[in-house]
Each structure stands twice: as C-alpha cells, then as structure tokens.
C-alpha cells in the first residue's frame, strides 16, 4: 500500500473557502453526534430498569423544549445555507475578466482540452498559478463531470449544452482530474492530471507549444503531437470562411443575416419578443439549431449545421464569433 492520504490538497482559492465551511459543518456534526450519544448512554445507564434514580417530574411533552430544539437546527441550517450559497453563486457565476479560457470536451472516455492559443491536450491540463481559469465544457456523448478535488471544483459536462465553471489555482503541483458522473464501462479510467505551474514556467511551456511538459504521462495523454497549433480563433475564422457563413453574416447587420461583431454578451431580441443574452450556449445553439431562437427582424433562412460540425469545430466557430469584439465602424465588408 502506497501511503495513506487523509486530507486532500488545497490548491485553489475556492478550496480554501469551501474547507472553512466543511470544517464548520464537521464541528457541528461531531458536537451533535457526541451530544446525542452521551445523552442516550447516560439515560440508558442512569434510568436502567431497577436503578434507584428518581423518576419524579417526568414529562410527556414540553412546548418550550420542542420550540428550542426546532429553532437550534433551523438557525444553524440558515447560517450554513447563506454561507454556502454565496460561495456557490461565485464559483458557478461569471468569472473575472482576466480569466484564462479553456475549452473542455468530454467523451467516452477521455478529456480533451483546448487552450486559446491552439494548444490541445488530452487528459492533461497545464495552467498557471494565480490566474483565474474559466472552463467552458461540453460532452460529445453522455453526461460526464469535470472534477478536480484539489480545487474542490466539479461541474457536469452535458451533451448539447455548455456548462461553465471557474477557479483560481494557488499552489503549483500535480493534481488528480476525475470524471465524477458515471458514464459507462471505462468511467473510472476517464482520469487525468492538472498541472499548476509557476507563471514563468507556464510561459515557457506555452512558448514551446506545450512541449516542455514536466512529468507528463507517456502514452495516450499529453499534447497531441503533429497537430497544427493555429489558435482557436484562427481555426474558427478559417472554418467560418470555408463554410461560407459570411455569405449571410457581414461586418454590419445585413439583409440576409445579423452581424456577429459585438454579439457576445449582447442582449438579443428574438422574434417571439423574449430577450436573451448571447453567451456561448446561445451562439452554439444558433449555429446548430437556428430555428430554436430566431433573431427579431430576420427570416429563418439560416441552414442548420447539426451533424456537419463536431463539438470541437463548433467550439472553434464559437471562439471566433466571441473574438469579433467591437462593431466595425467602416462600411460593409462584402463577402
């Protein structure tokens, strides 16, 4: 047997906050367990049949007691609820602006990770310490769940829908990555490592195109050799041209279709009157199932690309559209 672990690594800011709550709850649990155990054993001994202890004044019910022992757990519960809800809204809410964006694709039974500059990794993730990391995740088949115990972070990876989560790693090191949602035969082999690196070391790693890998696994994992490392956005741009999206989508809203410049994060008014925020999930859905949400003022003429695009190429398109930041002031760019 190799070593005995009793406490997990604590390697993100979220982990530190969660641990505080965890140990508070542990203290509550130990206290009440010991309290009940002590009372049960003490009563059992003192009031055992035949003991001479006085039974005078035994009651059948007592309203004050009932109220008391309802309010105590209720109060503790409310405190924990508020405490925990704040942390939860943080982790699953929007990340800070300077977050490093990583795309995650889960499939039976491996993790595929893409960096913004085009580096791709399988079952390994290299990230710098001290900078927030945002994961945008999707599955190609069944439900998986991205779980890094050292960060206390977990998020289900669903087919058909992006899920996001963010965290800030604090401590350089090598940490377990697990799939936490049962996904079939090799579920327990859908694992990997997260390498948190000193920022300088990380820069070196980036510059070498992901080659400088400290202690990477030999087979089946690591950076995919021979893959051109065009950045995600570049790859997306190429694809965009190749699929002739620009036949309808130009630099400014046109007759055939709306512009994508400045779309990400914007509020979009739909035909049925509702308003949605254009996030990754919306953009993805607009590409794969254009009829699901039709933009106000346009005919539903956009073809569906479902079946033509796998999740990886869809991600590239999404990344490209996200990168089209400001609406161009210049005149229309003809396709």
């Amino acid at each position: 047997m190799k070593g005995v672990a009793l406490l997990p690594d604590t390697a993100s800011t979220f982990a530190q906050q969660v641990d505080l709550l965890f140990w508070f709850l542990t203290a509550v649990t130990v206290f009440f367990t010991l309290l009940i155990a002590a009372l049960v054993l003490y009563f059992a001994y003192r009031y055992r049949r035949g003991s001479t202890a006085s039974r005078a004044g035994a009651k059948e019910t007592d309203l004050r007691l009932e109220i008391g022992w309802s309010m105590i757990p209720l109060t503790i519960g409310l405190i924990v609820f508020v405490w925990a809800a704040k942390l939860y809204a943080d982790a699953y809410g929007p990340p800070p602006d300077n977050a490093l964006e990583i795309f995650v694709i889960g499939k039976q039974w491996m993790w595929h990770l893409q960096h913004p500059n085009g580096i791709r990794e399988n079952n390994e993730l290299h990230i710098p310490a001290g900078r927030p990391v945002k994961l945008t995740m999707i599955s190609q088949d069944v439900i998986h769940s991205f779980f890094v115990p050292a960060f206390r972070i977990k998020r289900d990876v669903l087919p058909g829908k992006y899920n996001t989560v963010w965290f800030t790693p604090t401590k350089p090191g090598k940490y377990h990555l697990f799939c936490a949602e049962y996904c079939g035969t090799q579920h327990s082999r859908m694992i990997g490592w997260v390498y948190v690196m000193e920022p300088a070391e990380y820069e070196k790693w980036l510059a070498s195109g992901g080659e400088a890998r400290p202690g990477a696994l030999a087979s089946g994992a690591g950076t995919m050799a021979g893959v051109p490392t065009a950045s995600l956005v570049q790859a997306g741009e190429q694809l965009y041209k190749q699929l002739r999206c620009n036949a309808c989508h130009g630099a400014a809203d046109g007759q055939r279709g709306p512009s994508h410049y400045g779309l990400f994060g914007k509020k979009v008014k739909l035909r049925d009157g509702t308003v949605v925020v254009a996030d990754e999930a919306y953009i993805r859905e607009s590409i794969l199932r254009p009829l699901a949400k039709v933009v106000d003022g346009y005919e539903p003429i956009m073809p569906s690309y479902e079946g033509l695009l796998d999740e990886e190429r869809t991600l590239q398109l999404v990344a490209y559209i996200k990168s089209l930041k400001k609406p161009l002031q210049t005149a229309e760019v003809k396709p």
Binding site: M1, L25, G77, H176, A180, H187
Partner: protein
C-alpha cells in the same frame, strides 16, 4: 420466564396453522400470511444484494480493477443498488411489518382490500423475477439512477427489462400504500381516534401518501427511458432532440421522497420500541406525529438537491438548498424526542432496544452529513463521491435496516409465538453496529479526499481506507447471517412468548401470539391514550428478569 398462555403441547388456533398446504399460502388473503410471504422474499433479495455488496468490497481491496472486468464491476454495483433499493429497502418495513401490524394496531380483522394485498405480492414477485432474469441474462450497468442518455442510447445491457421490473415493483408498493391509507381512515376500532394511533401508524400513513403520489411519476419516467431506447423517440437524449436534465428532475421528484419511503417506517418502529423499553409514552407525541407529515410534504420539494452540479440555475439551486435545510428540522425533532423519551424511563436492554440506540447514533450522523450535501458549496466538492455513498448508507443501513431489525425482533414473538434467543441477538446487534461503522466511516474520508463513486479503479494512496471499509463489510456480513440462523432456530426452540411478552401497550399485544386468522376474538374498544405505560406499570413486568421495583417518584 414468561406467562405462557398456552401450555406446551396444547395447540391453539392461529393464522400459521390455519392451513398448511402450499396453496393455502399462495392464495391467502390474510395480511399476516402475506407479510410472511413478503418476509421470505425480501430476505432472499437482501441476501442477493448483500452478496453483490461483498463482491464490490472484494474488488475494491486493491486499486487496480483486477478481480473482474469494468463491465462486470459496473453491473455488480448497479444490481446491488437496484436490488437493495427497489426489492429490499422500499418494501421491507411496510410490506413485512406494516402488513402484519397495521390491521392489528388499528383493531381491524384485515386490510381494507385483502385481495389487492395479495396482488401486491404477486406483482412484486413478478417485478423481482424479471429484474433477476435481466441480471443473469446480461445484467444492467447504468447505476440504479438510470441516467440518460447513457441508459437510453449508449448502454448495451438489459436496461429495458430491468425498467419493466422496477415499473412492476412500483405498482406493488402503490397497492400496499392504497391499502394502508384506506384501512387507517376507515377501519380503526371504536375509540381509536387519530391521536390515539400508535406512531407506527402515523409513519405508515405518511409513507403511503408519498408512495401513492410519487411512484407513478418514477414509473412513467422509467418507461419513457425504455421508449426512447426501443423506439428512438427523442425525450431525454439531446442527439434526438431530448433533454437529459428533464429526466433528472422527474427521477428525483420521486426518488428523493423515496428516501423517506425508506426511512419513515423505520422511524415508526423506533417510536414503538423506545416507548416500550423505556416504559414511557413517547415524548412529544404530537410533534413526532406531525414531523412525519412535515417530512412527507417538504420532502416533495427538495429533489433539486441532487442536481446542484448539473447546471440548473443558481437561484433554483438556492431554493432547493434552503428547503433541504428545512426538511432536516423535523428529522432532528424526532431524534430529540426519542432521546427525551428515555429520560426518567425504566430502560430495559433488549436486542430491539440496542438497535434503537444504534439507530439514534447512526441516524444523527446520516442526517447531519446530509447538511454537507444540502449546503451548496460543499456539495460541489462532495457530490458523486464516496461521501454521498457514506451519507445514504448511514441513513439506509444505519437507519432503515436497524429499524427493521429492531422491529423484526420486537414483533417476532407476535408473529411466530416464540421468543428469539436474547444473548446471541444482542451479540449480533453489536457486531452489526461495529461492522457498519468500520465499513462506512472511512468512506466519508474517502469522499472528502475526492474518491468518485462508481469507480472500479482508484488511486493507490486511498487503498488503506478501502481495505478498512472492506474489512468492515466482512464483519457486517457475519452480523447479518447470525439472525437468519437464530431466528429460524427459534421457530422450534424458542421459549413460548404468550400474548404480550414485553408488557407493551397497543392493540396487537391484546391478542394471541401468533394471532388468530381474524386477529381478535371480538372487536377491541380503545379507552386510553397510546403508550399509557403508566397504567400498566407493575402488572405486566413479565419478560424482564429484574422487574421494575425501582423507587417511583
């Protein structure tokens, strides 16, 4: 030792000797005989589920998946879950003890619909046999939760057949639930008002309401999975245009309340036993009764706490979290009231009472660790880890099975007319308690370390804790085998019990052991409050060696 009513050799009429052909059992409509049919069946399925559990623990002795293939490991834990939940935990207390006792406790001759009761057993057996057949012909590998799209589009195992089995079993519990509700409303003996009912009845009433309202939802949901699987109709699989999260909502809408279907009846048993062996009325009777109802009601509104990491909106998560903290309060109230019942009682250490004391400790741990999971931030880390596994085993094994064993020993003399052997029964209770904690305490640590559930392989640094857990499982296995032997032994060799060996209150103790087919010679009339142990103080100190000669205040 006991005031035996019947002299040895003299055979009285009772439900057991009312017919001894196989057909007289298979076609019986006597609730007591149906309870015995259920007792035999759930015990067999419990043995199957237990063997599967031992296989799991054997595999996890080493970090590598070396005892069996991953395919088989996944089948083993799935079938362990399916058998234990659908075929043992849900029916165990209601269909065995409830079936036997509900009519006796309300002073009725039988349940309201005796034939529906028999039908319930047949439907249960049909479902159980179909599930067993699926198990030996390929097995299922989806986990007991059947999450699509894995279950509907990817798994190549016997999903459809198992679902049909689970669907049928669901109907058997609906039949039982309907029977209990009508019986409790309509067939109470004269004088037996709602607030004179034993808490066992209140618990079964609340359970029945949950069963009748919840089970149809899960039955249809599982059927939809089968429909998607067989006809490729898009319901839950996004590739077919469905929504996998919808399944989780529908599934947990039943399956969270289902955890209360498993625990409420056990709580009913605890109330009866703690009162009897403390010789006191259950403290705060009304609060214990209403907490069952509160649990049943709020329990229907917390299902989303199984889905905190799925991507449901943060606000939905908060509502479900808040309600989960609320539902913990009535459970806590019950624990405090049971503990207070012992205060200034006359406590007798019989095997059922040992199980009650064990229940109190383990249920507290199970409930409090539920708070870690109801709390949103900690659940992100703990969800789908061994922490969850430990949590629900503390409640379902530490709670439900301890309650079941307490009840089985407590009413064994009533059911069979014989006493079980006290010494070895106490020994078994202690072994089960020790084995249980050794098995499941390490799993809390494993979960906090990050060990995901349903893992065939695991990192080497966790082996130590897994070995402890497996050792505990072996001990637990021994603890469970003992009662099978000594209870069977007692059928012939146990001391004759007499109508009321514990000097307990309650109508079931006012008739013979075993009771006659129609339960009572004449309809009983109830004139006193439940658990009026103060009225029965000295006259019935029969089963106790010492007698309660203590100084009274």
């Amino acid at each position: 030792m006991s005031v035996a009513v019947a002299k040895p050799g003299e055979v009285k009429h009772n439900y057991l000797n009312a017919g001894d052909t196989v057909l007289s059992w298979l076609l019986t409509t006597d609730h007591k005989r149906i309870a015995v049919l259920y007792l035999v069946s759930v015990t067999l399925f419990f043995a199957v589920g237990g063997l599967l559990a031992l296989l799991i623990r054997l595999e996890l002795l080493t970090p590598q998946g070396d005892l069996m293939t991953s395919e088989n490991y996944n089948r083993v834990f799935t079938m362990h879950g399916v058998v234990m939940i659908f075929l043992f935990l849900i029916p165990a207390i209601p269909a065995v003890l409830g079936n036997f006792l509900v009519p006796l406790m309300v002073g009725a001759r039988d349940l309201a619909f005796p034939r529906l009761n028999l039908a319930s057993w047949y439907v249960y057996m049909a479902g159980g046999l179909i599930a067993t057949w699926a198990m030996v012909n390929g097995g299922v590998d989806t986990g007991w939760t059947f999450y699509p799209p894995y279950s509907s589009s990817y798994s190549t195992s016997q999903v459809t057949l198992t679902i049909i089995g689970a669907f049928l079993i669901g109907f058997s519990s609906i039949f039982t639930g309907i029977n209990f509700i009508v019986t409790i409303h309509k067939m109470r003996a004269p004088g037996l008002t709602w607030f004179r009912l034993p808490l066992f009845i209140w618990a079964h009433y609340a359970t029945s309401v949950i069963i009748v309202l919840g089970t149809p939802v899960v039955a249809i949901t599982l059927l939809l999975v089968a429909v998607e699987r067989v006809f490729r109709l898009g319901i839950f699989d996004p590739a077919l245009g469905g929504d996998p999260i919808l399944f989780q909502h529908l599934f947990w809408f039943y399956s969270h309340p289902a955890v209360y279907i498993m625990i409420l009846p056990a709580m009913g048993v605890i109330s009866e036993v703690v009162a009897c062996f403390s010789r006191k009325r259950v403290f705060g009777y009304h609060f214990v009764a209403f907490s069952s109802v509160a649990i049943a009601v709020i329990g229907f509104l917390v299902w989303g706490h199984h889905m905190f990491t799925t991507g449901q909106s943060v606000y939905a998560g908060m509502v479900f979290s808040l309600l989960s903290f609320l539902v913990a309060v009535p459970s806590a109230v019950k624990v405090f009231n049971w503990t207070a019942t012992m205060y200034k009682g006359h406590i007798e250490f019989r095997a059922p009472m040992l199980y009650v004391m064990g229940f109190l400790g383990l249920f507290v741990i199970g409930g409090l660790t539920g708070l870690f999971l109801a709390s949103l931030a900690t659940d992100i880390h703990l969800q789908d880890t061994y922490f969850v596994v430990a949590h629900f085993h503390y409640i379902m094994v530490g709670g439900t099975i301890f309650g079941y064993l307490a009840g089985l020993h407590f009413w064994w003399p009533k059911m069979t007319g014989r006493m079980y052997p006290e010494g070895i029964a106490k020994l078994a209770a202690l072994i089960i308690f020790a084995g249980f904690n050794l098995t499941f305490l390490p799993q809390f640590v494993l979960g906090y370390l990050g060990m995901p559930r349903r893992y065939h392989w695991y990192p080497e640094e966790w082996q130590m804790l897994h070995v402890m857990s497996s050792a505990g499982a072996a001990l637990l296995g021994i603890g469970y085998i003992l009662p099978i032997f000594y209870l069977l032994w007692s059928l012939r060799n146990g001391a004759i019990a007499g109508p009321n060996p514990w000097g307990a209150t309650g109508l079931e103790w006012k008739t013979d052991s075993p009771p006659i087919t129609h339960n009572f010679e004449e309809t009983p009339i109830v004139t006193e409050e439940p658990y009026a142990y103060e009225n029965h103080h000295h006259q019935e100190e029969v089963a106790s060696g010492t007698g309660a000669s203590a100084a009274e205040g």
